[in-house]
């Protein structure tokens, strides 16, 4: 089917609010190229369970597209319209399975050497959209905190080399009670500026005691869901004809109830399922889990505050053993996990910098139970070094 043939009844399989949204803009959707429309529908199909900021973003995008004249809309999408789509892709059920269409489109673009052209077309479209739509600013400047190195004793290598040029490096943080201070800061912000899904605590191990005002995701907390998923993966891969792509498609269709998840918050449950089913390595390495979760929280929920704590991951073993979910005698690798966490912290900062209000945002990374930290923010001179003894809470107060 091609976009001009769209009718309201084609969206009968959508959730109620999603259906109402797309049917309201069906005239606009009919004019969009097939190389792009399923990507947009992918953001809409589970609209009912998206974070508030995501819902508002897609509403703004649809409203903006709808406000354009026919000629202006054609101009906006002209590069995307030049991407050739195969008849096989055209006949795919891209309305009800837009994510799967996008995966197949991706493979098709590679094979037909159109990926670079598509990338360029997507960048052009995004630039036009960003110029036309004001980004939603956070109610207060964002604060991101990453804690790394849990379980590491003496460590001689220099830490935070990638972040030091961007902020102030502190070498004599008083480590005692550091994590508690950070949680207190995050909790105070959440209480002072209540925003749905606006304040997060992500733990790569077992979450420590925290206020329920924070949205919390932890690797240990998802252990039952991970174990169920790994069992499902093992059983599916034994079936004839099951390859990596088919397995990905299968995992993408899993729902919280399939993994025994049910916190009562379907938005959070679905988010957690996607972390486990769409993130490579999140099922087996806690450091990958922490970094990918942070990335997705930043991208989708655009938090005002986020505290991410890395924990030791298991040592590398044969893949079949890692995927077996067998938790008998797990060997941990704290030093390797510290290296993972350092890169994760850098990526957390980079991803936070991509959000609106970046010029006012602050970011802190701390080597847990050690004296090292880097603070990046409007109050911090770049590339400086401080050997003043300070509490981590004091550093946070200097950052804004």
């Amino acid at each position: 089917m091609r976009p001009p043939e769209l009718k309201p009844e084609h969206f009968n399989g959508y959730l109620p609010e999603a259906r109402k949204l797309v049917v309201g803009y069906i005239g606009t959707l009919r004019r969009l190229p097939l190389s792009f429309l399923p990507s947009l529908l992918r953001e809409v199909v589970d609209y009912d369970f998206r974070f508030p900021v995501e819902r508002r973003a897609v509403e703004r995008e649809l409203a903006t597209l709808s406000s354009l004249s026919a000629d202006a809309l054609d101009m906006w999408c002209k590069e995307l319209a030049q991407i050739q789509i195969s008849p096989k892709l055209e006949s795919f059920d891209w309305i009800n399975a837009p994510a799967q269409f996008v995966e197949q489109l991706s493979a098709y673009l590679w094979t037909t050497h159109q990926l670079d052209a598509f990338r360029e077309a997507a960048v052009q479209y995004s630039s036009r959209l960003q110029a036309a739509v004001s980004a939603e600013q956070p109610p207060v400047p964002r604060l991101g905190i990453t804690v790394v190195g849990q379980g590491v004793g003496v460590y001689e290598e220099a830490v935070f080399r990638k972040l030091r040029p961007h902020g102030a490096y502190f070498s004599r943080i008083k480590p005692d009670g550091g994590l508690e201070q950070l949680l207190n800061v995050v909790t105070a912000r959440a209480k002072a500026h209540p925003v749905a899904y606006g304040h997060w605590y992500v733990d790569g191990g077992k979450a420590v005691a925290h206020d329920s005002v924070l949205t919390c995701v932890s690797y240990d907390g998802l252990e039952p869901a991970r174990a169920t998923l790994l069992r499902s993966i093992r059983s599916e891969t034994e079936r004839p004809g099951m390859g990596p792509e088919a397995l990905r498609s299968l995992m993408a269709r899993l729902r919280p109830s399939d993994l025994g998840l049910g916190t009562g918050d379907e938005v959070l449950d679905r988010f957690q399922v996607k972390i486990l089913t769409e993130g490579s390595g999140t099922q087996i390495f806690s450091t990958t889990f922490a970094q990918w979760t942070a990335r997705e929280v930043l991208r989708r929920a655009q938090p005002v505050t986020m505290l991410v704590r890395f924990a030791p991951r298991q040592r590398q073993k044969p893949m079949n053993e890692l995927l077996s979910g067998n938790s008998d005698h797990v060997d941990f690798d704290p030093v390797g996990s510290l290296v993972d966490g350092e890169m994760g912290a850098y990526y957390n900062w980079l991803n936070q910098e991509r959000l609106p209000g970046a010029e006012e945002s602050s970011f802190l990374v701390w080597f847990e139970n050690h004296g090292d930290a880097v603070a990046v923010g409007p109050g911090m001179a770049r590339g400086t070094v401080s050997s003043t003894a300070a509490d981590i809470g004091q550093v946070i107060s200097w950052m804004s």
Partner: protein
């Protein structure tokens, strides 16, 4: 009369017959970015390449892969000189003739003279295309060290760390076919008993270490003129653990140096062999919000497409650096010029800097 006799002596003739040119190609690891290798901040991860190999090599700083960034299809493209479009996740032969087929057909070389040592089960068809002008049996023979090990050990737990597959396709199970062929390869080609092999394997720490061990044994026993070794440990990056990706790079750096030492010390290879080392492609940039940095190679951005290549040994200038962009498909035509075959269907161009 004594002089005439001496000149016609077989011994003298043998001493003056030049050794046949040989080429060894190593694909570096399964996607490595410049910033973790040759960029300033990455050089600490490749001490052997920096200190031992670069000074002896011609180095290309911009080698661009404009094709599909999947390991099997990219390696197949390197081997054919054409951007192949076969399904990366299926075990299919390349559609265009490989360097091995050109070499064997043009120069009438036997099957024993071209070998591939490949890490991953999906690579077992890379030695030979299904191109109608070449036909079956004209390509390289492929050794899959993991298959050899599984056949020799019947899947013993002590060796599982050497059998792990790449994370891009973690669920492929080796098709063992009873293990008879593999046991035959061990005995007749590599001249290894099962016990010797098992004993050695216990001392190795990764699949690429196993591959290099097998490659060195092949060099000793068969001395093929073309040997292609595909390394893959670095691909653990897909699991998202940065420390394991760096560990893979450091190990691959060491293994490349080990292989170069072997080339220089093996009588059949010393002085007449050109070694090429190059990644199949890079990985995504930290600056592209469409990716997740080092973890994957999905965006097709410049960093994921552009890496480097070094060539050293016979006929190669030492200490030369070239910034001119070349493409990965230029490798096969270059090999053709060096070894004396015509890569008729390849789309790349010979790299004049090496000829």
């Amino acid at each position: 009369m004594g002089g005439t006799l001496l000149r016609s002596s077989g011994l003298v003739r043998a001493a003056t017959v030049p050794k046949r040119k040989k080429v060894v190609v190593i694909t570096f690891g399964g996607g490595a970015r410049d910033q973790e290798t040759f960029a300033a901040e990455g050089q600490e991860n490749i001490p052997h390449l920096m200190k031992d190999l670069i000074p002896q090599s011609t180095f290309f700083t911009q080698v661009v892969n404009r094709g599909i960034l999947g390991h099997y299809v990219a390696t197949a493209s390197l081997a054919t000189g054409v951007y192949e479009t076969v399904n990366n996740f299926a075990s299919l032969p390349p559609e265009h003739p490989t360097a091995f087929e050109y070499f064997r057909k043009d120069l009438k070389r036997p099957a024993s003279d071209a070998w591939v040592v490949a890490p991953s089960n999906g690579f077992n068809r890379i030695g030979e295309s299904n191109h109608r002008s070449y036909g079956s049996g004209l390509g390289a023979r492929v050794l899959l060290p993991k298959h050899l090990l599984t056949a020799a050990t019947s899947g013993g737990r002590d060796f599982e760390h050497l059998l792990r597959d790449n994370y891009e396709t973690p669920f492929y199970a080796p098709e063992l076919g009873g293990g008879e062929i593999e046991l035959e390869q061990l005995e007749q080609i590599l001249k290894l008993s099962v016990d010797e092999f098992k004993k050695k394997a216990l001392t190795l720490s990764s699949p690429d270490e196993l591959s290099v061990y097998i490659a060195r044994q092949l060099m000793k026993q068969m001395a093929p003129s073309i040997l292609w070794i595909t390394m893959h440990d670095i691909d653990i990056a897909h699991a998202g653990a940065y420390s394991l990706y760096i560990e893979g790079i450091r190990r691959t750096d060491r293994l490349c140096a080990d292989l170069w030492k072997t080339i220089q010390s093996e009588p059949e290879y010393a002085g007449n062999t050109t070694l090429f080392i190059l990644p199949d492609f890079g990985r995504d940039s930290d600056d592209d919000s469409g990716g997740n940095g080092f973890q994957h190679h999905r965006t097709g951005d410049a960093l994921s497409r552009t890496t480097w290549m070094m060539a050293m040994g016979a006929g190669v200038r030492e200490g030369a650096v070239f910034d001119r962009p070349v493409e990965t498909i230029d490798l096969v035509p270059t090999l053709g010029s060096m070894l004396g075959f015509t890569a008729s269907f390849a789309r790349g161009k010979p790299m004049a800097e090496l000829l």
